[in-house]
Amino acid sequence: MSTQDKVKINKLPTGVSGLDEIVGGGLPEFSFNIIAGAPGSGKTTLAHQFVFANATPERPALYFTVLGESAIKMLRYQQQYTFFDPAKLPDSIRFINLSQVVLEKDLGAVLEEITKEVEKANPAVVVVDSFRTMVRKPESEMDLQSFIQRLALFLASWQATTFLIGEYAEEELRDNPIFTVADGLFWLRQTAERNSIVRKLQIIKLRGQASVPGLHTFRITEAGIQAFSRTFGLTARVRNPIGQRRLSFGIPELDKMLDGGVREGDSVLVAGSSGTGKSVLATQFIAEGIRKGEPGIVAVFEERPQAYAERATSLGLDLETPQKDGKLSILYLRPLDLSVDETMQSILDAVQKIGAKRLVIDSLAGFEMALSPGFRADFRESLYRMIFALTGIGVTILSTVEVDESFTEFPFSTYSISFLCDDIIRLRYVSIDGQLRKIMVVIKMRGGNHAKDIREYEITSEGVAILGKRLINYQGLITGIPVHSDRSAQEEEPSHDLETKKQT
């Protein structure tokens, strides 16, 4: 069968930020869906958002309430959300209470009532909230199954996209015949992790199209549910080809060490202990980008944007003007109880808003600490997804990470995330001639012929300044406690930096 012979399934907007991406572009029209989860997990709000996004006077939504929350109370609370448009009631959205029918009659009568209303209104959307409360006796589960099968058949024929809302516990997911009837099964979870609430949703099944698998975090705000796709909404974006352009740090000697600069679209890790100048280097990187017309984002977690900009001013770098001009955004993210995906979404939104080419995350340790404890377990995985997504669209990322200084090891990161990075620049203290000095080395540069030299540097009033040539008259520099060798002065040995290589 050719593509043009296949039936086209229209995709309806879910009305939930981020959810369209998760379900594969929108909810299949005429699908029969179940929203399941524990009380308070956001089931009704999700259904309301869909209803408000799709109901029109010509093809209204019928919202059947059964037992449980009083419809008046439900409307009282739901209208607090910004998506709730009172003008849509009652022409586009009608709430119909079936509790009397449920209490006094059987499921057959309920189906009859729904049928009558659907035939009268010709709705595009039908919601039954909550269908599970229609069954009050355990032996009636069979009746419920039969009811749902008949309802699904009827509503599909009447071209209605349907949501049944039900309270279900996690363990009820398995072997439940009711779920086999559904085209779509949305499972909402809410758990307490220490002092924070962690909300996640999963599309357990969705017929007809590919949804993004896995658990997606979501939040309920005044705008309703906001979902955060594990792919950050970038699945549809075409990955940029590997860039050839080199991005400068604005530090000529460092650019030379990096074979001309950081390759566009790379993820760079600057690792070092406290005070080694990681943030200074990051600031110079972002400032140089702005100077060259490349908008940038700085995500800070350990100091406020004002303090960050003032520190840049002390280095002679103006971050105030580009902020006013919309070329730079300094994000101060201290969410504490947010998910890593939600935090990353804030960064992504900022990147897309100003068309950022460079992104600084300062620092990964601060980032992790700002997250809810329950989400820290997801940190590395989410970071991987974000870096993959952003570098894929050509954004160059520089992350700083603090490492414990050891005189026996030379770690790059305490997070074991170096595999996420294309390039690693390591800064460290070293004891030389009775002074605590600083050295820098490019550890890794994917696809680049970086210098192998260990260079001494200082932090001056103008930022990081690399001193002299490579240090050749010491052994064991990376241990931090080098031994002075008998070799002659550094000038006597040809440098192994790239410029020298090219000349020789």
């Binding site: 309430t65 009083s70 419809a71 008046i72 109370k73 409307l75 009282r76 209208q79 009172p86 003008a87 009631l89 009652p90 022409d91 009608r94 709430f95 119909i96 209470n97 079936l98 509790s99 009397q100």
Partner: protein, 146 residues
């Protein structure tokens, strides 16, 4: 706590509309019943019979504090309003075919909707039942406000 002038004005308008739309020879209390029944039908769909019954009972209790004669009126379990015909009517408002007890009862019911649902939803609901009477535009017929 008394009824708000705006709510009272809306109730008065609905009752006047129904009074003029109905048969002039019918008893005045039937106007209140007609308004009440229309609200019952509309609210019953939304809140269910039990939901409406509890709202109406609360409205009646509040109304009794302003119009003691309403103590003879009851809201039945199914939401029916009973005993309206036993209320005596002041002669000075009889000519308007709207009785004070009815005005207060309906305005209390509308007042509860305003409290629980807010103005936008309440007015949408009223407009849905009385498309002509709900708006105070002053160019309607049938004895509505001009």
């Amino acid at each position: 706590m008394t009824t708000l002038p705006e709510t009272r004005d809306l109730a008065q308008r609905l009752l006047t509309y129904e009074a003029n739309a109905g048969n002039t020879s019918e008893p005045v209390e039937s106007t209140t019943l007609r308004v009440y029944e229309k609200l019952r039908q509309s609210l019953g769909e939304l809140a269910g019979a039990a939901g409406f019954q509890s709202l109406a009972s609360r409205a009646l209790t509040l109304a009794r504090s302003e119009v003691p004669s309403l103590s003879a009126v009851q809201v039945a379990a199914d939401g029916n309003l009973q005993g309206m015909s036993t209320i005596g009517l002041p002669t000075d408002i009889e000519k308007d075919r709207v009785d004070e007890g009815g005005v207060i009862l309906i305005s209390r019911l509308l007042g509860l909707l305003l409290i629980f649902l807010g103005e936008a939803l309440t007015m949408n609901l009223v407009r849905d039942v009385w498309p002509d009477a709900a708006s105070d535009d002053g160019n309607s017929q049938d004895g509505r406000k001009t």
